[in-house]
Subunit: 324 residues, 2 copies
């Protein structure tokens, strides 16, 4: 009987789920509006019902080997979601326990960046690699660190929050949603790029079509399109973003000395606009012992549904390790 | 027959060696002047001769289970020392291979901070801990990162160079011996403390006995003694050093989420002068999910001979893992 993993990506608006085979093919997929559920118990019941329907939609019989879940503030050690800012639920949600009331399958919960890292190892460009880091550049900035073939979860299950390392110390720098100032996330996320563009706009007198766009309606995609058309401010915003990201990634290497760093998520759709200045700053700032040894690459995961793919990889990774 | 490990600490001036039992007791120890040997082959021959004499000095028969070596730029993967700035030899020295010409014992080579981390786990305050970091604050700044009970060596054997992460970006900040600017080491090493004191001296007009001491002759111990006596500039230098170190350690937590961070080395002899401001900045800058969960502690290793102790721990760690 063919084996599949159930991958679930819980987002603030929607929750995506899919049955995924070992090669990363989606045999069936569906979606649930997270935002409609004020009670996590009701949400989980609806989610498991959807999962059962998914299973029934596949004509050939399949065996589900486990459930992998990516969720903001997902904690692998406890199977919980803890104080998520973007979900309709408050406090600590015992997600894995709630799911185990419906099934005996193994359940793994972690954040989306950790799921992306395992996805990169199982299906993506990190196949066969033992030491690498995935950086997710979306609304926020996350990271998943793999050492000796294992994702680093840390003592409390919260390793890899490099989006919240401080790249600009001092109280006058950018405020972060975490309550502190100067976090990497405030500079190199999609939102960080918008903040940088707005700052450049304030400092410069050069014309730009983006001067007609409000802060709230401006997107990283819009800035990328303007840069492609030669907009000076937009190009400069990508330059600044890449400079800060490249410097921080060079610092990251001095922690765990990975073989490669992969960039994943919305901002990487801007391709060379972000990759080129990042690579330049990365190589320029690497300590001499690492120079020329650490690859900086775009993610090998197809960005469509990659969050669900990453989540399903958690279950495959566990399955493979248990059979060793 | 009692088992012992041979621990060797290679420094720019001297090389210390000792036979150490599993509890960390030194059964015999000796010293060799590194600086007298211009050829690594001759050095290794003399070192192994000294080791044989050590063995003979112990009255009861003992069995040596392995050789652990701490050395600047020591690379565990290859058993080499690579481009050491402070040793009399140039280029890549195949240390483990040279030693294997004299013995069949397992030989492990790594840098002093990694050796200190394994020492902390085997003999010190990290006994039983699975996830922790040791930061060495000496002439330079090193680090050893332990995850799930294993020291992180990284893809090229050079993990844990957090002394060379950049805490003050921008070309006008402090030059580092590594050729870059703004490295942690330029602020929080013993030398960094002296640089900070001199900088404060330039900016302030307050009196200080240290105004009679030259940059080259000033030591961190002298600054500690002045601070103890109430010297305002000396106290301020420790405050600034602790602020930068505490902030960086908070960032470090966001990488691997350790249970504890241990401070080790010369600067920690200043005890609360350095621990208090570091702890304050650490707690103040931790991301909310880590607050109150990560301990910041002085090393549990006796600082006398702790480098040799750490080196011997490498051999014990390997021995224990091989018997599992």
């Amino acid at each position: 009987m063919e084996k599949v993993a159930l991958g679930i990506d819980i987002g603030g608006t929607n929750t995506d789920l899919a049955l995924v085979d070992q090669s990363g093919n989606f045999l069936a997929e569906d979606r649930l509006p997270t935002v409609n559920f004020s009670e996590p118990e009701v949400f989980v019941a609806a989610l498991m019902e959807k999962a059962k329907l998914l299973h029934n939609r596949i004509s050939d019989p399949v065996k589900v080997i486990g459930i992998g879940i990516g969720a903001p503030m997902g904690n692998i050690n406890k199977g919980t979601i803890e104080y998520p800012a973007d979900l309709p639920w408050k406090g600590i949600i015992p997600l894995a326990d709630l799911i185990r009331e419906h099934t005996d399958l193994p359940v793994l919960v972690t954040n989306d960046a950790n799921a992306a890292a395992v996805g990169e190892m199982i299906y993506g460009a990190a196949k066969g690699m033992k030491n690498f880091v995935v950086i997710t550049l979306g609304t926020g900035v996350g990271s998943g660190i793999v050492i000796d073939g294992n994702l680093v979860y840390g003592q409390d299950g919260f390793a890899g929050e490099v989006g919240h390392t401080i790249v600009r110390p001092g109280r006058t720098n950018r405020e972060c949603g975490c309550g502190r100032v100067g976090c990497l996330e405030t500079y190199v996320s999609a939102t960080g790029l918008v903040r940088t563009l707005i700052k450049i706009m304030a400092d410069s007198i050069e014309p730009s079509e983006l001067r007609n766009v409000s802060f709230n309606s401006m997107t990283s995609l819009q800035i990328a399109e303007a840069a492609e058309k030669g907009d000076v401010l937009a190009k400069r915003a990508f330059e600044h973003t890449g400079e800060i990201l490249g410097l921080k990634l060079a610092d990251l290497v001095a922690h765990t000395n990975p073989e490669a760093i992969f960039l994943f998520g919305g901002l990487t759709l801007a391709k060379n606009l972000i990759m080129e200045p990042t690579l330049r700053a990365f190589e320029e700032n690497l300590l001499f012992i690492y120079k020329g040894k650490v690859k900086l690459l775009p993610s090998g995961l197809n960005s469509k549904n990659s969050a669900v793919l990453g989540a399903s990889a958690l279950a495959w990774d566990l399955f493979k390790k248990e059979r060793k």
